[in-house]
């Protein structure tokens, strides 16, 4: 990555803006099918799972335990933010224990 930060920012902003306005604009041309809707809803879920899986692959047992705990805590606490922050505490504790 050699590009300067303002250029990165511009590219990222353009992609985000495109997503915000494209569906709105296309609506007058293309009807959204239920199948397309299912695909669009599944995409962020798959991306999040991918990021978590990559972290386990790059890390080890401590990371796997912490992320497993985050999933469980989210369902128990019903707060994803609290669960994520607790996950960080768990991995720090496991590393301190030498895992």
């Amino acid at each position: 990555m050699t590009e300067s930060f303002p250029i990165l920012l511009l590219v990222m902003a353009a992609a985000a803006f495109l997503c915000r306005v494209a569906g709105f604009t296309l609506m007058r041309v293309i009807p959204v099918s239920a199948r397309l809707e299912a695909a669009l809803r599944a995409t962020p879920l798959a991306v999040m799972a991918g990021i978590a899986a990559l972290a386990v692959q790059a890390g080890g047992l401590a990371e796997a335990i912490a992320l497993g705990a985050v999933v469980g805590l989210t369902l128990v606490l019903r707060s994803d933010v609290a669960a994520a922050l607790l996950g960080v505490v768990i991995v720090a504790a496991l590393r301190w224990l030498g895992l």
């Binding site: 590009e3 920012l9 609506m27 962020p44 972290a55 999933v71």
Partner: protein, 232 residues
């Protein structure tokens, strides 16, 4: 063209409804600020990223890509496009209602569109909300929460020593796992989770981590589309 109502009263109504959401978005912003600072972003860069992309999941993926060190501009663009593809749906769903406010007000309001205030606004529309300024109203406190949270989170990391010892390097993955768990509401939602995780691991081995995140999103979306057709 006669415009639908777009008044300050509607904006204020939306802003009031947006405040409770803004508090939780502030906490997310704090999380993103911590992630960004951990990846070497200072406060200014972190806040600029939050303002430019204004989408938590897309920003997390972008930071993830930049951390791999092999991200290209195209990969960044594609990753955000794939993750924020759901905004196509959000925008399409809002179009019949919002367009009545005219192009400038419509597109201006879309800048403040996010997951939280889309849900809120769609619910109010179904309850008969007529004032098109409502959407921008809900988005304003949420945007302020997001930006101030990011600034505070990024500033906090710069005064903390050794992020690895505190587990901050896993913050991104923790947020991803938590959001994934929270978004999985039906058994069918487990399919994109499994497909996304599997695709990411395989693609990371074969091509590299930068492509893995995009590939996970595409694979999950494709499988969901294929399964939907079978269900019909």
């Amino acid at each position: 063209m006669s415009h639908a109502p777009f008044t300050f009263a509607g904006f204020r109504r939306g802003a009031r409804d947006g405040v409770p959401l803004a508090l939780s978005i502030f906490a997310y912003g704090l999380g993103f600020g911590l992630v960004a600072a951990q990846a070497g972003f200072g406060v200014t860069k972190a806040v600029a990223t939050s303002a430019a992309i204004y989408s938590g999941s897309a920003q997390l993926a972008a930071v993830n890509l930049l951390q791999t060190g092999e991200a290209t501009l195209l990969a960044l663009f594609a990753a955000i496009l794939v993750i924020n593809a759901r905004y196509l749906l959000f925008g399409a769903a809002l179009q019949p209602w919002l367009w009545a406010a005219g192009p400038v007000r419509s597109y201006g309001s879309l800048l403040l569109l996010g997951d939280a205030n889309w849900l809120l606004t769609m619910r109010r529309i179904s309850e008969g909300e007529e004032d098109r300024a409502y959407l921008a109203g809900t988005g304003t406190p949420i945007a302020l929460g997001w930006l101030s949270g990011t600034a505070l989170g990024a500033a906090a990391v710069s005064i903390l020593p050794r992020p690895e010892a505190l587990g901050f390097d896993l913050m991104l993955a923790c947020f991803a796992a938590a959001m994934m768990a929270a978004m999985t509401r039906r058994r069918a939602d487990l399919v994109p989770v499994v497909v996304g995780a599997g695709a990411a691991l395989v693609i990371a081995r074969v091509i590299g981590p930068a492509a893995a995140v995009i590939g996970a999103g595409l694979a999950g979306g494709a499988v969901a589309a294929a399964m939907h057709r079978r269900a019909e």
